[in-house]
Symmetry: C3
């Protein structure tokens, strides 16, 4: 019997995560993670072949914060906007303490001149844990992109 | 503690709203709103700068009905189809009477010749109120598009 | 009063269905259907005009399995990946035994060289029935694509 309450809870967390990025509230983004944590962006092919890590890797909130700081300095983010559309999460395993879940995503990029394109599609492969206040957080979020063709500007969180 | 029942209810309303437009049942579209109401389409930049109103503005069901009537006369709608994909709603505030919520969207446009493109992405910034029969309706729906580049044909409801 | 539990259950089934295709676990795909069943891909125009059937039609699990076998042989699937993003299901009718529901979809195609495009948008028009173990299955899934422009390679399940 699937736990619909848990599904709704993860769906909500995912929506808040997406909103944080899309509304350019990036300084709040590391808060979605446990500490230590794993955040990584990779491609389907690399993930399937169990190749070490992807184009982006961080294992603590401090590293996530650093990333945002560099982003702000590089001023890349301000030149474009993003929009995440997410699927319904699928729970693979839940043992009370850790939840393994997977969620499909599509991210659109909107350039300053207004052009919109599909920036990336893929799935989040997540391990979730409860933080203080019973709030779910990402102990691990592997962003598995369908395409191996990464934009060289890829510095924004997905 | 988030109210998952309310989230599901708003998600359902949003799905019905999208279906109404995408299935070309536009005459039923004004029924999703309270009367009076606010329906407006604007861009992220204008919304962030609190500029008065966007490209489209209506404040009553009568105005919404007028818009549909002109659309039908102009025959624009028949030349293309739309498809909405929506995120999970996020409730910002709920005081029993009014619910403030936000929902991400992507709208695809399918031309008569079959070409499909991403027509618009953005978020609905909503105030919801209960109508007779306890049904939720939009007292206010601000359609905040990510891009400022509006199609000059933009006459369809988003 | 909408049955939010049922909506969540159908949403989950749809997410599992999408994951099965997008993760290239096609051999498990026929299991989502009842036997006999109806699986058909058609266009909005053909569906609206009640024209017999669409480009693809199957009425048993055996036919669905055949389709996957040919796909594997033709080796088409391996050259590209897909990503489904789905809307929230809308229940039209539920009489305890059969549930009639509709769900919006967008499918992206990711080519081997990394290019991503919107492959198809549309809606699933479904009749669901419970299988052994109380699990929902598709007694009928009509894939109604918004566009009539079908890729000649259309052989993958949508």
């Amino acid at each position: 019997m699937p736990d619909h309450q848990l599904l709704s809870e993860i769906g909500l967390l995912n929506a808040q995560y997406a909103r944080c990025i899309d509304n350019d509230e990036l300084e709040a983004w590391p808060e979605f993670f446990s500490d230590p944590c794993v955040y990584s962006i990779t491609s389907h092919d690399n993930y399937a072949l169990k190749r070490p890590v992807g184009v982006i890797y961080a294992d603590s909130q401090a590293m996530l914060k650093d990333r945002i700081a560099s982003l702000r300095q590089a001023n890349i983010y301000e030149r474009q906007r993003y929009r995440h559309l997410l699927g319904m999460p699928l729970v693979q395993k839940s043992d009370g303490e850790t939840v393994a879940a997977e969620t499909a995503f599509a991210v659109y990029r909107i350039m300053r001149d207004g052009r919109t394109d599909v920036f990336a599609t893929g799935r989040y492969v997540d391990k979730l844990r409860r933080k203080a206040g019973d709030r779910l957080s990402f102990a691990e979020r592997i962003v598995v992109c369908d395409s191996s063709l990464f934009d060289t500007l890829l510095a924004i969180p997905l």
